[in-house]
């Protein structure tokens, strides 16, 4: 299905590509009319006469507790009682600027803007109150939702000001920048252990996800998906049997979009009718694509001499040639699926030329652009009514389900609900790319690294999204992040080789740093061994320019009892990362303690200790929850998840053959947050990226066997054990 980019989406992508990560909050003059109803000082919040402050959360709530955290940031500067704070998740609107949730960016991108939005509203309320008292605003203070005039003791609640007093003060961009914000020492709301606002309704069945949408006169659609992930075409459709299914409404055939669907009065009827379709498929050019053919392609691509470098410093060739010792290793990772618990689904009502869409989206700006282009309407005709996301993990960055449902709704002229089965969800996923990485290093006589060369062969998701999601060399930086680690190595190069395979790739939680840091941190362990230095000390010797990373590395090691003795076949492994991006890193280090059964190759993780420095922590329990979850997601990836390909499609179909972590495999997880007043970075992903390398290093420490393939499956561990012997 086409996901052509529009001008609008380009604007989003320019930001997504990391050029300027500003979220605008245009400030509108409310005028007198607004005073009677509600006060919307900016796009971030609304204050109503009852004194309730509603913070408009334009980030997707998919389990991060983002609504609560962002509302805390606003409430801190607004000086409002937390009990008067509410959140909502508004539909897309240009006034919200870029609507994108991912990359562990939410707090990092909005902390400053939301602080200023709250502060500006507070100053405007003070100004309004002062005017009614003919007082100097400098003599007034705001606290707990009340403005007081200190000399006289007069007071007005925020709600009273909104109801009765004209609020006229507005701020230019420059004035906003000049507002003096609180110092971390004075925070009362940020940094507090505040219960998440979305949790109560997630314990009683009342929380509404996209799949819980019902519209009057709604019908159910099921799509007939092609046999391969990419490139198949239908050549004939016979729906005579489908038409006989009770509840059948219509067949939709759109050759241009390569979409075949059946619409019926119920979900079961739609399934039955869809299954009754007789479709002739041309399986297309990818019909014989397999795991083996993909890795063979990767393997031959890695030596391409014409490849340009993504990151380069110093003279790698000279330093490598002059090195006393050289080492190289090749690492591979397999396809990983999102497997968010809520299968992809969407409800669309098409009426009067406009599309009302009900779903949970991580990237409304991109979806609006894609939908407008595909449907041939103006972006103003696309309204995405945001719901809770039953897991995102990057899956809901993609607009594919919205496009399919909107096309069907346009044909049948009734509201349409489309729910993918788990099998369809897995088969139509945009997987984390399989990868092949080769790392070479040169060491001097003392074991110090003097040259470093890394080649990353992977499919780049940004290429499918469009030219605006890749750099001038055609590289998607989100397929490479992390390969540019922060170790002090004078001469380094990262060669990037994007390869198309016929298997669609996308962004899966923690994205490229999952595989780039697996190679970097496992190779670092190999070099430490070669140099005869303890892996912790070896890393520390190269972290002079990253003191906060050195600090969490030492903290994790201390808390994990690094260096103390362990039983046979048990080992500790360490890894540290500057994820998600080098420019905005959350400094994270983990120590995994694991046992290996040498007869079966089975690995059991006893414990993982993770130390994190993310700057200011907005909600400490939310932060811990994110780190715990990200670590366990990493364990699931590292130990279990292997997507394989046959006949141009994923082989696995459901949770029985694509297994994810369950409660019986959960080790002890210990999280240490470093107190800090630095500007905050994100927490949803960095922990994930430490697990595979720390675990591989633990297996080595336990057995002397080096496993260079993720997931670290028993047969791979056994093979490494045999290779050692």
């Amino acid at each position: 299905m086409s996901t052509r980019l529009t001008r609008r989406a380009f604007l989003a992508s320019a930001t997504a590509a990391g050029a300027a990560l500003t979220i605008r909050f245009p400030l509108v003059a409310p005028g007198d009319a607004a005073a009677a109803a509600a006060y919307d000082p900016n796009a971030a919040l609304t204050i109503t006469p009852d004194g309730i402050v509603t913070v408009h959360i334009t980030k997707a709530e998919m389990g991060q507790g983002v609504g609560t955290a962002l509302a805390q940031i606003v409430a801190e500067e607004l000086e409002v009682d937390w009990k008067d704070v509410r959140v909502d998740y508004p539909a897309n609107d240009p006034k919200f600027g870029l609507m994108l949730t991912g990359g562990s960016w939410s707090v990092n991108w909005t902390f400053d803007t939301l602080s200023r939005a709250g502060a500006a509203a507070r100053l405007a309320l003070i100004d309004a109150a002062a005017k009614t008292w003919n007082a100097n605003p400098a003599d007034c203070v705001a606290a707990r939702g009340v403005v007081r005039h200190l000399p006289t003791g007069r007071a007005l609640r925020y709600g009273e000001i909104v109801a009765r007093v004209p609020i006229t003060k507005t701020f230019s961009e420059d004035e906003l920048k000049q507002i003096v914000l609180k110092k971390p020492a004075d925070y009362r709301v940020v940094g507090q252990w505040i219960p998440r606002l979305d949790i109560p309704e997630k314990t009683n069945g009342k929380a509404k996800f996209g799949i819980d949408t019902f519209l009057p006169n709604m019908v159910y659609a099921k799509v007939a998906y092609p046999p391969t992930r990419e490139g198949a075409k239908f050549t004939a459709v016979d729906d005579s049997a489908a038409k006989r299914v009770k509840g059948y409404v219509a067949t939709v055939q759109l050759p241009q979009q390569q979409l075949v669907a059946v619409v019926a009065s119920s979900y079961e009827a739609a399934v039955k009718a869809r299954d009754a379709l007789k479709i002739t498929w041309d399986a297309g050019p990818n019909a014989s694509v397999s795991t083996d053919s993909i890795f063979a392609k990767f393997n031959s691509a890695k030596d391409d001499p014409g490849v340009t470098s993504w990151h380069e410093q110093g003279d790698v060739k000279g330093a490598m040639g002059g090195a006393a010792r050289r080492h190289e290793a090749t690492y591979t990772t397999d396809y990983v699926a999102h497997m968010q618990m809520e299968p992809m689904n969407c409800v669309v009502r098409f009426a009067d030329g406009a599309y009302d869409i009900y779903t949970g989206s991580q990237f409304q700006t991109f979806a609006v652009g894609t939908l407008a282009a595909t449907l041939g309407v103006d972006a103003s005709k696309i309204r995405i009514n945001q719901q809770y996301l039953g897991g995102g993990f990057g899956r809901r960055l993609e607009p594919d389900i919205m496009v399919e449902t909107a096309l069907i709704a346009r044909e049948v002229k009734r509201p349409v609900k489309l729910i993918r089965s788990r099998e369809e969800d897995l088969r139509r996923d945009f997987y984390r790319s399989a990868t092949l990485q080769q790392v070479k290093a040169g060491l001097d006589r003392d074991g110090k690294i003097v040259a470093w060369e890394k080649t990353v062969v992977a499919s780049h998701p940004g290429r499918r999204w469009g030219p605006d999601f890749v750099d001038k060399k055609g590289l998607d930086q989100f397929a490479l992040n992390g390969a540019d680690h922060v170790y002090d190595i004078p001469n380094q190069v990262v060669r990037a080789i994007p390869v198309e395979t016929g298997i669609s790739v996308g962004y899966v939680r923690a994205v490229a740093p999952n595989y780039t840091f697996f190679a970097v941190e496992t190779f670092m362990d190999e070099l430490a061994k070669l140099a005869g230095v303890d892996p912790l000390q070896y890393r520390l010797s190269m972290l002079g320019s990253a003191p906060r990373l050195a600090n969490v590395l030492k903290l994790a090691a201390d808390k994990a009892g690094w260096g103390s003795s362990l039983p046979a076949n048990t080992g500790r492994g360490i890894a540290c990362v500057s994820a998600q991006e080098k420019k905005t890193p959350t400094w994270t280090a983990s120590v995994v303690q694991a046992q290996v059964d040498p007869s079966t190759g089975k690995v059991k993780i006893d414990k993982i200790v993770c130390a994190v420095d993310c700057g200011i922590v907005v909600n400490p329990d939310g932060a811990r929850s994110q780190i715990e979850g990200s670590i366990l997601f990493g364990i699931s990836n590292a130990l279990k998840e292997r997507g394989t390909v046959a006949n141009g499609a994923l082989v696995q179909s459901n949770f029985h053959d694509y297994q994810v972590l369950r409660m019986d495999e959960v080790p002890e997880v210990e999280v240490h947050l470093v107190p800090s007043t630095e500007y905050p970075t994100g927490l949803g992903e960095p922990g994930t990226t430490t697990v595979a390398p720390a675990l591989s290093n633990a297996i080595f420490a336990a057995t002397g066997a080096r496993v260079r393939q993720v997931p670290l499956l028993p047969d791979r561990v056994l093979a490494a054990l045999r290779a050692r012997a």
């Binding site: 998919m62 389990g63 991060q64 507790g65 219960p195 998440r196 979305d198 949790i199 109560p200 997630k202 314990t203 009683n204 069945g205 009342k206 929380a207 509404k208 996800f209 799949i211 819980d212 019902f214 159910y220 119920s266 979900y267 079961e268 497997m339 968010q340 618990m341 809520e342 299968p343 809770y388 996301l389 039953g390 897991g391 995102g392 993990f393 729910i419 089965s421 788990r422 099998e423 329990d621 939310g622 929850s625 715990e628 979850g629 366990l632 997601f633 699931s636 459901n654 949770f655 029985h656 994810v660 972590l661 369950r662 409660m663 019986d664 959960v666 997880v669």
Partner: protein
């Protein structure tokens, strides 16, 4: 026509007797707290109680449920104050929240027959329920907290 008794209320639904109970509960009766996750009894998101036993409603037909007492998350407690629900809030368990109805129904069935479960009892009873956000450590803590409350 099937007759279903859900959360103490009777419903007559015109569906094929082979229809999975899940789709009737969710899409016909719009009791949407019960979730669709896999359709093959692998994930537990659709867990409800049938005569007090935790079952996967995606693999239970309407015919099998006919005449039996069905309890969904909406009926676990009329006020949302079941000890497990309170413990889930106290321990701040949910992340995305999608699987949590199923987790709570599985945990409620466990506590009903074993008010003082060991760690191993909890793991055995709960390992059929997947949480992709991996809130497992908090689920375990919340079940223990609720169990202590139930006993005291």
């Amino acid at each position: 026509m099937a007759s279903l008794l859900i959360n103490g209320k009777s419903y007559n639904v015109d569906v094929d007797p082979g229809t999975p109970l899940l789709w009737v509960i969710r899409e016909r009766l719009q009791l949407t707290g019960t979730k669709f996750g896999c359709g093959v009894a692998q994930c537990g998101a659709c867990t409800v109680h049938l005569d007090g036993q935790p079952i996967r409603s995606c693999q239970t037909t309407v015919a099998q449920a006919n005449g039996k007492k069905i309890t969904t998350i909406e009926g676990l407690s009329p006020t949302g104050q079941h000890p497990l629900q309170l413990a889930w809030i106290a321990e701040q368990v949910p992340q995305c929240g999608y699987c949590q109805s199923g987790q709570l129904m599985a945990a409620a069935a466990l506590l009903a027959k074993n008010p003082n479960p060991s760690d191993q009892d909890i793991v055995s009873a709960m390992s059929g329920n997947i949480c992709r956000c991996a809130t497992y450590p908090r689920i375990k803590r919340a079940i223990k907290r609720a169990a202590q409350g139930v006993r005291s």
